[in-house]
Point group: C2
DNA sequence: CGCTTGTATACCGCATACAATGTAGAAGCT
DNA sequence: AGCTTCTACATTGTATGCGGTATACAAGCG
């Protein structure tokens, strides 16, 4: 368990140490520096980040509530793992929420927000031109989430955004356990394009259909891989 | 701001003070002892609950992440308020999630879980016989949430359960701002009955339709009341 | 040889002390 | 009076210490 993060010591006192610790840990988990199943020990983290245990405790509690960190049988905190069945459940929730998301987006999205969506899509397009490597696929993955996140935000429904964030968190955890190299980025860009078009033209049914099939495709890819891994 | 809760001092050390504090505060908020907008001051709470600030800080962080407590402009923590537009958004999310909930319940619910559902419905039925007062309507409200919660749990989808809990939390906050006496409990029991029947008979479409109309009815009642209050 | 028991240690829960920061109220100036 | 400035205080942020508890490993006993 190695966190090579240097917290901003003196400059920019805006963010509390608690917040910085939280972000460092979260980042560490989602970026794969802390692997699912790893134990998280307050004293160790305190030593590595050079802060006292108090802000760390708060950060851990928060991560625990987000289900990125779980207490195992004897109460030790560990980085959460996602099983195959949980993956399916996660996707089902995501589909339910994103169906609402695109529906409301069709009704609510402002021109500026649509513009952001386009940029997100074209950025991915541009990135995909480059020769594929691990870092690139990380970036594409980030853009993928950003795309879905932008749609959610364009609804103006804060509740929806925070619920989806919850789901995305565990989703990224899931990715860590499957492929480091996102498999379907090529098709994905095409599908994002379709989703965007439907939203821009306010065609609710088309948008819902597009996002549903997009997610179902992703779901079946992940599930397939997970079950293969097990055997 | 008065919390008259005596934490179990010596017996049952199973629950940490942090957890007890969390529950005390949560209970205080949801039961209306702490009103939306009230400031939450660490030192005051510490004095009232006779614990140090450390566990309180952790509890507050957790409540903050659940959106039951929010930081206002100058960083003070306050009990969250729910606006009329948030109420609508909340209901929309709830409908999306509960649609999934009954769908999966139709497929997954075990006989034992269906039995629990029946008991929940009949309990409400029995309670409704008694002469109505404030305490009774509180109990009926609790049974209402329990009913929906049981459905979610019967899906076996833990992710869904925790997302819905999130929504229910704020929902109860919303109720505090509208009526103390739940308006539609009479119709509600009828609708619950229908939902249960549909799930028991594994009729997905009927169940979805029933739960959707149930929630939409509730939504329009709440929205109506909120807009009336404003004028 | 296995089971219990003892002991050292690692870790956590909570309390407390101190530092930093922001807010309110009073005093002083115009 | 109205405005500014300064001080005192209230509150939160962070560090640390102490005590309890569980765990692991070793020694003693059956």
């Amino acid at each position: 368990m190695i966190l090579v993060v240097q917290l901003t010591q003196s400059l920019q006192r805006r963010k509390s140490l608690y917040e910085q610790t939280y972000e460092a840990l979260r980042e560490g988990i989602l970026a794969g520096k802390l692997l699912p199943g790893d134990r998280l020990i307050e004293t160790q983290i305190a030593q590595q980040l050079q802060v006292s245990r108090t802000p760390i405790r708060e950060a851990l509690r928060q991560l625990q509530q987000e289900d990125l960190v779980v207490a195992d049988g004897s109460g030790w905190l560990r980085v959460a793992t996602v099983s195959a069945t949980e993956a399916v459940q996660l996707y089902n929730c995501r589909i339910a929420l994103e169906t609402l998301s695109v529906t409301e987006a069709c009704a609510q999205a402002s021109p500026a927000q649509l513009e952001q969506l386009v940029q997100c899509v074209t950025q991915a397009e541009a990135l995909a031109e480059r020769s594929p490597d691990a870092a690139l696929s990380q970036q594409l993955l980030a853009l993928d989430y950003r795309f879905h996140h932008l749609i959610a935000e364009s609804t103006g429904n804060g509740c929806l955004v925070s619920l989806l964030e919850q789901v995305f968190n565990k989703m990224m955890l899931l990715r860590l356990q499957t492929t480091r190299h996102n498999p379907g980025v090529l098709e994905v860009r095409q599908e994002h394009q379709e989703i965007y078009q439907a939203i821009a033209q306010r065609e609710v049914k088309t948008a819902v259909a597009a996002v549903t099939s997009h997610l179902k495709a992703s779901k079946s890819r992940v599930v397939k891989e997970l079950t293969q891994l097990k055997s």
